[in-house]
Symmetry: C3
Subunit: 203 residues, 3 copies
């Protein structure tokens, strides 16, 4: 049986892939293109993190991420008409995935011997760079920088992690609080339509 963390990892991958596949389908991508966009949305952030850490991209070590992205494609094809009704469920899956991805990114970076501020950067990249790559692929301005609080929720989770570490909490609790911090901030931001203020340009 797979453990709880692996389950959350698959759930997050599935939700991230679905967001990529849906946006690709809105742009008339073919099935294969939509699959690639879904896959990149799911693993892109972790891949950039791993390249910067000089480590082999995590998805090259086991084929499960390719499979889960394939399941996401099947899901969108089969349940196309009902997928909108599932928006709330997908949103929760996405938030859980985001929380976990941030924890994984911080963890791995600390294990490579980097200081906490680099780990927070890498946690944020792990969580939000995939969505950024998705928007670049489908030729839209990155949503993560313009709607609700997304990347900033990752930073917030990283700060929670840092504070917990400072107060000497156990690693498991620290990780849990970090993930909960990310998830809560996402849920609250979306529910109450809280956004980072837009930077006013020069007139």
């Amino acid at each position: 049986m797979i453990d709880f963390v692996t389950l959350c990892d698959y759930i997050g991958t599935f939700a991230f892939a679905i967001s990529g596949i849906r946006l690709a389908s809105a742009k008339q991508f073919d099935w294969f293109g939509a699959y690639v966009v879904g896959f990149v949305t799911a693993v892109g952030g972790g891949t950039i993190r791993d390249v910067m850490l000089n480590s082999t991209p995590f998805w090259m070590e086991q084929p499960s991420y390719l499979f889960v992205s394939g399941l996401a494609l099947l899901f969108v094809i089969i349940f196309r008409r009902y997928v909108i009704r599932l928006n709330n469920t997908i949103f929760i899956f996405d938030a859980i995935g985001l929380g976990l991805f941030v924890v994984v990114g911080i963890e791995k970076t600390l294990n490579f011997g980097f200081p906490m501020w680099v780990a927070i950067c890498m946690g944020t990249i792990t969580g939000s760079a995939g969505g950024m790559m998705r928007d670049i692929f489908i030729n839209e301005e990155p949503l993560v920088f313009r709607k609700d609080i997304y990347a900033l929720a990752c930073v917030f989770g990283g700060v929670v992690y840092w504070i917990c570490l400072r107060f000497g909490l156990a690693v498991t609790l620290t990780q849990l609080f970090c993930a909960i911090g990310v998830i809560l901030m996402r849920v609250v931001a979306v529910k109450y339509h809280i956004s980072v203020p837009v930077l006013k340009g020069e007139s």
Copy 2:
């Protein structure tokens, strides 16, 4: 004298660079910008592969790729008016290059000790990520995901490689069949206007 494989490599680089330079010129890029787009189209896929394999990008080991891309720029500048008439020739060059790039990508990945499914991914990235980067640079939605069969032809070639390997064929034959698989699928797809079906979005 250069051997047959090197010749195919240069032909492919030349054809890939030309596709980048032509699309850049349609977007009013300057000469230098068009050169860069051409170069990135030609070497971008292999560069992403090498970065993921934790290897030095192949074009940094000898300047010939910079020269061949320069020749492609000269070619487009001088034969601008006649280049359209050469579309069929350029298409064949492009297909030959694609076939070779996929083989090179698979080969290198297997040499680094990765399993076959990673090699197929890397072969596909070697063949199609350059075209994807080209479309991102010129700010268009990636053509490789929307027209004819391109990235999928790379996957097909990878599967051919895998089957040949399973049946114990000699390496040279395996590589040849893989390249022929990619080229054939491209030619057939373009000649008979076969595409991967578009993923229908939610209405």
Copy 3:
């Protein structure tokens, strides 16, 4: 006290970040998104260089680049109305940064044992890839390939470096002449509206 080179490095980072933040604000990015675009504009080129050299991205070794980008965001927020009047000063800062970034890129690449032509490529990437990434993020066609002489000024500086090295000049002088070459070419190109000719497309 910080030395002269470090000061130029911060000035360049500041100016590059400002160009990213201003363009992001014109696209209605939120504060955090504008900060990220500014940061990527400033460190993106050096990051791509370091990834290709198989080295840890330079900004992960000390947090000053994150701080300087933060200062640039504050600067744009506070002096929004007056920032246009400072265009000339920012341009000079940007040119100084460009000159330094090219020198740093060449230096590092040579130290890794690569030949001069790779160093010129890496110097050019260090100087201009950040601006390219900025334009991809804000979903515009890369300005560096279409306006004034930008990437080509980096190549020019690299050639100056190469010639000085050939004539046996001291390293410090070589670096100084390279930086001056980049800065002069930028200033002259902008002042006299010199551009690389546009590549005419097929009609």
